[in-house]
Every structure is written in C-alpha cells, then in structure tokens.
C-alpha cells in the first residue's frame, strides 16, 4: 500500500483516539452529560472502512459514531461543539453525541435505538438502485444489534432486491455487559447472512490495512451492481460501553485470549474471574494503532519524527476543537422552535 495512504490512515486513527479521550475528559469535567459511547480500540474499523468509501457513497451508523463522522471529514470542531450541545455543532446542538448527521458528507446519521441502521440503509440503497447510480451504502451495526428483527427483515429485502448495501458488523463481543456467547446462538455474525443468500466474510478488525483493502474490493463490487454484502470485523472496545459503564465485567483471560486471536472460550471464563481495569485492557489489548505504526516503521514508511509531528498537529487540532466548542453560543428556544418549526407550521392547504 502507498506510503501516503498509510500515513492518512494512521493520522486518522490517532485523531480518533485523541478526540475520544478528550471527549471523555470534557465529559468528566461536566461540560456535557448524557450518554457518551467511545471508540478507543475499534479505530481500525471506521478508519479502514471509511477510507475505502467515495464521497458519493452513503454512511449510516449508530450512537458510537464520533469517529465515523471525523474520518468522513466532518470537522472535529463541529463534532466537539455538538457534543457540547452548542449552536455551531453539526446538528446545532439538537442531536448530541449519539445523533450526528452531516448531509453534505452523506453521513446519514447516528441512531441510538439498536437496529435502526438497517432500514435506513436499505431505504437509501433503494433510492440508489432506482436512480441507477454507481453508489454504495455502508451500514454499521454492533454484534448485539443482529438479534433485532430489523436485521433479518432488512437483510432479506436487501438480498431480494439486490440493494447496494455493505453491512458492516463491528463485532466487539459485547452488548453492554452481555458477552456474545450469552446473547447469540450463532456467534459468527457473518454466517447469518447465508440465510438470506448474502455473501459474507469475517476479518480481523484490528488490522486496518486488511480492513481497508477488503472494503475497497467489496464497495467496488457493490457499486457495479453486485448486490449486498456482509463484512464482519472482529474488534474490541478498551473502555466500558459508555461513560456510565466501567466495563469491569470482562475477565482478564478474555483480553489475553483476544490478544493472541484465539477464539474466546466460554469455559475459560469460569476458570479465571479476574477483572481487569480498563487501563490494563488498553495496555494488553491488540491495539490497532500500535499494529499499524509498527508495520509502517518496519517497512520504512514512517520515521519517529513524522510520528511526533503528526501527534503534535493532532493535539493542536483537538485543543482548537474544544476551544471552539466552549466559545460557541447556546442555541436559544426561539431558534429551536423557529428553525425546526415543529408542529407550529402554518401551511396553506389547497
């Protein structure tokens, strides 16, 4: 892969990590409350997939979506201001952390009711199909989201009508505190696609290069009329489910088995119930950023100075985003009512 491409992806993974850690910090300071679902550990998924997308492709995603928007090109300050609920946020402070929308970038929204991304995605896909355009829709969802009825209903329709949708499962093994073996009878998500005649595969979601190459190939195929596809990416979140969740229900043995890419053994859970802290998880987890940095350094595509420079730039960008958010005004009730004109519209019906 091109040196330039690797640098771009590494930069975005570092930006993602820095953005999220800073968001956690601002949340802890009390600058905003509510649910805050963070992405550290899973960066290779959003970065690998979205770097393979064209500006003409569409993205539909969940409540854990700051990084998806960031990588898609929504300015970090517009996302941070939205997290702060301010007027200059990408949704004018009305949506917040879980509901980022950016129409200009075909970023079709963050949805917080699990299982909502599929119907939206097939709807957008249906429009693309009718217009006969070479565009694809990327639909993100978690491992916990495959037991919602909409998953099955939407996959069936997508296959039946050959809709241009890439279903991307971010399999981080958890539905909040419920581990995948306790929420799904079939734990290989990709296998479920066979029931709807949708081709599918599972790859290592910690390896951004593989994620990116695979997604490029799949999107190309979809844009040229190949029909839907399901890509399962195996990954892990280093933090709890949200800021309200310390994530301490995860046995250390699981973290280790994941590091060596062994299948998680249920039996092992019962042998060693030794709960790690999130810091320990971050330390031992197969960190996608470290993986890519090492790869690039070994191939001579990255030198220490470049890395330092990158980190420096990013730190400045994130500082600026927070300053911007803090300075952005609060939206007023009048703006809220006027702009959105909900139920107050006086339409003339003829």
């Amino acid at each position: 892969m091109e040196r330039e491409q690797i640098h771009k992806m590494l930069r975005d993974m570092l930006r993602a990590r820095a953005f999220e850690e800073r968001a956690a910090e601002e949340y802890s300071k009390g600058n905003f409350t509510g649910f805050l679902h963070l992405y550290p550990g899973e960066e290779a998924v959003a970065v690998g997939v979205i770097h393979a997308a064209e500006p003409s492709d569409y993205i539909v995603t969940t409540y854990r979506e700051h990084v998806h928007a960031l990588v898609r090109g929504t300015p970090s300050k517009a996302i941070m201001a939205e997290l702060f609920g301010r007027r200059d946020g990408v949704c004018k402070g009305m949506g917040g952390s879980m509901h980022l929308f950016d129409a200009e970038r075909r970023f079709m929204g963050g949805y917080a009711i699990v299982g909502e991304t599929y119907p939206i995605a097939i709807g957008v896909g249906y429009a693309v199909m009718l217009r006969k355009l070479p565009e694809a829709v990327i639909c993100f969802f978690g491992d916990g989201a495959v037991n919602q009825g909409t998953f099955h209903e939407s996959l069936n329709m997508a296959a039946l009508w050959r809709l241009p949708v890439l279903f991307v499962c971010e399999n981080n093994h958890y539905q909040i505190g419920t581990e995948i073996h306790r929420h799904s009878a079939v734990t290989d998500v990709y296998k479920r696609a066979a029931a709807y005649n949708i081709p599918a595969e599972k790859i290592n979601g910690m390896d951004v290069l593989t994620v990116n190459r695979t997604t490029q190939r799949l999107l190309k195929q979809i844009r040229s009329g190949g029909g839907p596809y399901l890509l399962e990416l195996e990954t892990y979140r280093f933090r709890g489910h949200s800021m309200a969740d310390p994530g301490t229900y995860r046995p250390a043995v699981e973290v280790h088995s994941f590091t060596t890419q062994d299948p998680i053994s249920i039996a092992a859970h019962e042998i060693e119930l030794n709960y790690p802290t999130t810091d320990q998880i971050a330390e031992v987890g197969p960190d996608c950023i470290t993986l890519l940095t090492q790869h690039a350094q070994e191939k001579g595509q990255l030198i220490e100075q470049e890395l330092a420079l990158m980190k420096d730039d990013i730190a400045k960008e994130i500082d600026a985003a927070v300053d911007f958010a803090l300075q952005s005004p609060q939206p007023t009730l009048e703006e809220c009512l006027d702009d959105f004109n909900i139920n107050q519209r006086t339409e003339i019906l003829i």
Binding site: F32, T33, G34, F35, E82, G85, R86, C91, G93, M94, G95, G96, S97, M98, H99, Y111, A112, I113, V114, G115, G144, A145, N147, Q148, G149, Q175, I176, G177, T178, R182, H183, S184, Y249, Q330, P331, L333, C336, L337, F340, I342, N343
Partner: protein, 327 residues
C-alpha cells in the same frame, strides 16, 4: 420493616420478595442478570435466583416481551424489564396487540399476569430518542393498566401488587427517581394500586400530577404557600384506571384545577384528565382548568433547551398564579 430506601432499592426489594414467595415469578430483560440492571433494580437477584429466573436477553424487545405474554398465558408471572421506555416502541406489538387483547379476544379464557417495567421520561441530556414519555400512547389502549409510582413506598407496594395482579400492567419508572430516597414501611397497609393520593392538603387549587412531577408540584406548592396560595397536590399513582373520585372530591373544595405532566401537551394525559374532570365537575369549577405540559417538540440535546422543553417548578408556580383567588 421501616427504613429509608432509594427508589431503586424499593423496587429491588419488591422483586426479591415476590420471587422468594412465588416460584412462577421470573425476570427477563437486557442486562438484568450478570450486570445487575442498568439502574440497579435487579441487583443481586441473578446470584440469588439463577439465570433461568433472571434472564439476560438479546436485543429483541418485541419477541422477549411476547415471550412474557406467552409464559403469562400458561400461568407464569413474568416481570419484563425494557431497558428504557424508548425501546418499548419496538415491543408495542407484544404489549398492545397481544397482552392487552388476548384476555378479551379469548372470551376471558386467558389472563395475562404480566408486568412490563420501563424507565422513562426526560433525564439529563439523553437526546431525542432516549427522552420519551409514552403514557399518552399506552393510556389509549383498552386492556392495559398503568402504574406510575413517585415514592419508594409506592414503588415497593405497587410493584408487589402489579406482580400479584392477573392483568397486564405497565410499570412506568422515571429515570430521575431511582436515586431519590424515602421511608419504606412495609407494615403500612398499602392503598389499592390504582388509588390516587393527596400528598398535600390545600384549599385554593388542586394540582394533579404523577411520577417525578409530583415532587416538582410539591416544591411549587411550598413556594405558593408563601404567597398565600394554598395548593392541594394529588399524586395519581395510576394512569389507567384513574381514580377520579379522589380528584373530584378535591375540586369540591378548591374549585380550581391545574394539571401538570411531563409528556407533550397535545393529546397527552392532561387532555384526558382535564376533559374528564371538566365534564364531571363543571359546576364546581370557578375558572377554566390549566395544563402545564411538555412542549410539542422532540427533546433537544442542549441542556438548557432540554430543561425548557418540560415543566419546571417556576412554570407550575406561574400557572397557579394565573388563577384569580378571592382575597
């Protein structure tokens, strides 16, 4: 037992006692078991009663609520927890088409002793999809009963009564009530589940509310008292059925009606309460009733606008001041 308890602890105790006494009671929901429940309501029960009676479910609201209906048809007493009311929208088929209809459609052959618990309401910056209040929707469904406890004492007793009832009962818990405290006295004979309660006696106006907003009404009443306005505050405790007699009795001596609801005003619970009481007590009323309710907008994420979208103490006071009182 007479002890100070959090609202969530009162619910926890009710579930524990019910499960200990009756082996047909079981719990079902997302993260209710190993994790102990999102708001701690089921804490400790998984260890005590095992995973078959405290079942962690996949994210399949319609089907696991439907499972509750099926199990109830054959004599179990399921308590389904829907993690938050917002996800109950996905289970409305099980709740409205199944639970509410089967006893009737079957000509009374089946009863549905099912409780569906759900935290809801506007909490703190949870944004539009996670701030819903669905009482208006559920109130309009024949066949359901709706309990809306506002204190730990009621949370405990109403949940015990709901589990013992043979009707499908929707149990609405407000997310901001879980960590409120109150005395739980298990020796006090509980009121029937649907009976309203006068929380504060007063002679100038009747304020009717339910769930968390009862607490705000009581605060407003204290401040109004300082201005010489003596408000009677009624906590409905149940939205279906509604204890109209208690409300009507109050109006007989106050002659003024103020209804406070967190739900959006249009076609909300306040619309029903005001209409019914106006029809029944028209000649008792000195003035037109007033509703204080949520604005007809999805809940904004911004904290200030979120607060402005639902009634606050100051709004209740301002509304009460709009009546003309004899001097």
């Amino acid at each position: 037992m007479r002890e100070e308890k959090n609202y969530w602890q009162a619910l926890n105790l009710a579930l524990d006692m019910a499960m200990a006494e009756d082996s047909s009671v079981f719990i079902l929901g997302e993260d209710v078991g190993l994790y102990g429940g999102t708001y701690r309501v089921t804490e400790g029960l998984y260890a005590k009663y095992g995973e078959e009676r405290v079942r962690d479910t996949p994210i399949s609201e319609n089907s696991f609520t439907g499972l509750g209906v099926g199990a109830a048809m054959v004599g179990m007493r399921p308590v389904v927890e829907i993690m938050t009311i917002n996800f109950a929208l996905l289970a409305l088929d099980a709740i409205i088409n199944m639970a509410a209809k089967i006893p009737f459609m079957s000509g009374g052959q089946y009863t549905i002793p099912l409780v569906v618990r759900m935290p809801g309401g506007v909490a703190k910056q949870l944004a539009a999809q996670h701030s819903q209040r669905l009482e208006h929707t559920l109130m309009n469904v024949p066949g359901l009963r709706i309990a809306v406890p506002s204190t730990p004492q009621d949370a405990y007793w109403q949940l015990r009564q709901a589990i013992n009832s043979n009707d499908p009962i929707i149990f609405l818990e407000h997310e901001l009530l879980y960590f409120t405290k109150g005395i739980l006295d298990s020796s006090i004979e509980p009121l029937p589940i649907h009976r309203a309660q006068v929380r504060r006696k007063g002679k100038h106006l009747t304020i009717i509310s339910y769930s968390r907003h009862v607490l705000l009404c009581l605060q407003a009443a204290e401040q109004l008292a300082k201005q010489g306005i003596d408000a009677e505050v009624i906590d409905l405790r149940s939205l279906k059925p509604i204890d109209w007699d208690t409300c009507a009795q109050s109006l007989q001596h106050t002659h003024r009606l103020l209804v406070v609801e967190e739900d959006c005003q249009f076609a909300g619970s306040g619309a029903e309460i005001v209409t019914h009481l106006t029809e029944r007590c028209f000649f008792e009323l000195d003035e037109a009733p007033i509703r204080v309710a949520g604005r007809d907008i999805p809940t904004p994420f911004n904290a200030q606008l979120e607060a402005a979208s639902i009634p606050q103490v100051a709004d209740i006071i301002a509304a009460a001041q709009r009546f003309r009182y004899p001097s």
